[in-house]
Symmetry: C2
Subunit: 408 residues, 2 copies
């Protein structure tokens, strides 16, 4: 019989067994979006590199003098010899321009009392105002970005500012996707009215791609145990991760498990007390991680999302691999079976969450996915009440048709 | 002087002036992740395509008979001639297998009282149980996915299930990124200790890419007005969107605005009462949208994120282009200037939000970006109190180091 472990237990068995890679590559920063750093990035220079003006305005030595002679203009990028500045003098200075020694304050044009080409008259202003001091943000030698960090546009901004263009990143796992079911047609194949299309390979491949990984679609597993054993044996030396869908339950046609075992599989579990997604097996063959997901498109997608993606991130050396959740108020009451855990689809919008079709959809209903943007994982629940605050895991909440995101 | 419009007004002027494209292309579904549909997708077939078993079990005609003779086994994918089933008979049937006419109920193996190769003994079970009826999910001719929808893994799942592999998607805008500042060095160039690297082009290009668009880095705008007018004239016929950074304030070296105006620019605004990001101009030259962003890396990134990305989505025919926000409790009090709107960086984790460095970072501090994962936009605020509920816009909240996302 299938195991009866909880969804939480299944999640931790996947995560705890996923050992981060130590293989890395060198990569040019422009190609690095979505990669995970295999090294701490150390600051090469102070930031700012020199004290500079935060505004277009006038720089001066703060003193009693409020009428100041304009002696010079300094633009961003100007290089100049040091010069002496007197207490009744100032320089016109542009945003980002280097502040000369002796100047301790910048006043923006619009705060001056009077501005002419020759002189300005200024009010009282705090010493140090509008100057960004050398090194106030970053000191050379600081750890800028930690090993395991995902390279986002924000990290690229920081690395660019330091002139760092080559980084070490972890090599991501090579992933193979197999499917079972000789009855399945590929979506591009001719099919009669009652033939069924292969959904799982394509939904899981695109889920993997959206998460920054690649996967090869290997095709359909052969229809005998002997051939399957051989087939898997060939793949396991070539791939770090093998994902299968279907054939893992206890029906007569389900020999996938046996074929993996004959290849040395050590399973972490086979069967989870979750709805949907019960017939799921995860384990390892030598160094190859195996996710044997259910045949139902909805179940396989949900387990790939909740169990596999976090494990793939950990295998890739990412330091962040737990889904971040958002809190949301439940919009309408629904019931679940308290003997199982549940992954339930719904729509998150502007702080509220609504279950899809009152949770009356089946695990074969693939349209539930594209009609939802998030899920909740329920443990030991009977009724989920209206107004209850839920932890929601988003998968596609970035944008909506209309929202008022201003705090006013 | 610069305009003094609010951030909300700036956002709506961008969005309202962004006219969706009507150009489309045909694309194979495997390359379509992140594209926007240029047509409604119509269901080609019912789902399920035939009534089928939701479980591995036994199918029968629900009656008084509780001891049933096993007459046949039906696997998923089996095709068979119609046959008669009697009230005291049943078939072994696998998940997904077609349910023969006359059979109205399936019982899973584990719910049977007795199971042998020849017969089974079953308890009372509801008629219709564990059968997925033909067409109960989708009826042929239904609108499956609407025009303007982003193609996600969930949509790919649905299209695959319908055997739909070619779709029309909108052609995304061609985007050019220019930068100003002849003083800037590219991150890969030799630079002396005090020279500054170009950050904006690279942060904005990667932000654009992360959002599913492409952009060409054109390089640095020439250093005279005449050359710049010519330069922009050449680009405007080739690009749908031009993004510049820097040179849009009223400093002496800022002739970008004039160069755009001489090319027919009609600006929607020049200047926003927001901190950071005041010197920003958005407008249109014939059919080319222009985003002239500030020179400060933080300011330009924030306005690119908040104002430009939504407009790019709308230009691309997306039906969803408003940021979805999440509610979060503010972790520590901070103050802002009530005369301006503010975009404030911070970290969202598990329902709480914490401002970065107590909002004491400057607009030149690019490390504020990679140390944050979200932002809030504040309007007319003075103090943001601890415990206050904020609307937070995420830019990188997908994963965290540890979280308990189970609802238990």
């Amino acid at each position: 019989m299938l195991d009866k472990i909880s969804y939480k237990e299944a999640f931790y068995r996947c995560i705890d067994n996923a050992k981060p890679t130590d293989l890395y590559k060198n990569i040019f920063i422009k190609d690095a979006l979505g990669e995970f750093l295999a090294e701490d990035i150390i600051a090469r220079r102070d930031a700012p590199v020199f004290s500079n003006s935060a505004m277009d305005g006038f720089g001066f030595r703060n003193s009693e003098n409020k009428k100041l002679k304009v002696i010079k203009t300094i633009y961003a990028g100007d290089k100049y010899e040091d010069f002496e500045i007197k207490n009744d003098e100032c320089v016109r200075i542009m945003t980002g321009a280097k502040v000369p020694d002796g100047i301790d304050t910048v006043i923006p044009i619009e705060k001056c009392i009077e501005v002419t080409d020759e002189y300005i008259v200024i009010p009282e202003i705090k010493k140090g105002a509008n100057i960004r001091l050398k090194g106030e943000e970053i000191t050379k030698g600081d750890v800028l970005v930690k090993k395991g960090t995902e390279i986002t546009p924000e990290v690229i901004a920081l690395l660019s500012s330091q002139g760092i263009v080559n980084v070490k990143t972890f090599i991501k796992p090579k992933i193979a996707i197999l499917s079972t079911g000789n009855e399945l047609k590929e979506p591009w194949e001719e099919a009669d009215e009652e033939e069924i299309y292969n959904v799982n390979s394509h939904s899981i491949k695109s889920l993997i791609e959206k998460n920054g990984f690649n996967a090869d679609l290997i095709g359909i597993i052969p229809d005998t145990l002997e051939k399957t054993v051989e087939f898997i044996k060939n793949l396991k030396n070539r791939y770090d991760v093998i994902v299968t869908t279907g054939g893992i339950s206890f029906g007569d046609a389900d020999f996938i498990y046996e074929a993996f075992v004959k290849n040395g599989l050590k399973s972490f579990f086979r069967g989870i007390m979750v709805k949907p997604g019960r017939p799921t097996m995860v384990g390892v063959m030598e160094n190859t991680f195996v996710f044997a997901l259910p045949g139902n498109p909805l179940s396989s997608y949900l387990n790939a999302f909740a169990l596999m993606i976090p494990a793939l991130r950990k295998l890739s050396g990412a330091k962040e691999y737990f889904y971040n959740f958002v809190y949301a108020k439940n919009k309408s009451e629904f019931k679940v079976n308290p003997k199982k855990d549940h992954t339930v689809l719904g729509t998150f919008e502007c702080g509220e969450w609504e279950v899809y079709k009152n949770y009356k959809y089946g695990s074969g209903m693939v349209s539930a996915l594209s009609n939802s943007n998030s899920l909740v994982i329920l443990v030991n629940k009977v009724i989920v009440k209206e107004g209850e605050i839920l932890k929601v895991i988003p998968f596609n909440i970035g944008f909506c048709k209309k929202s008022d995101f201003f705090n006013d």
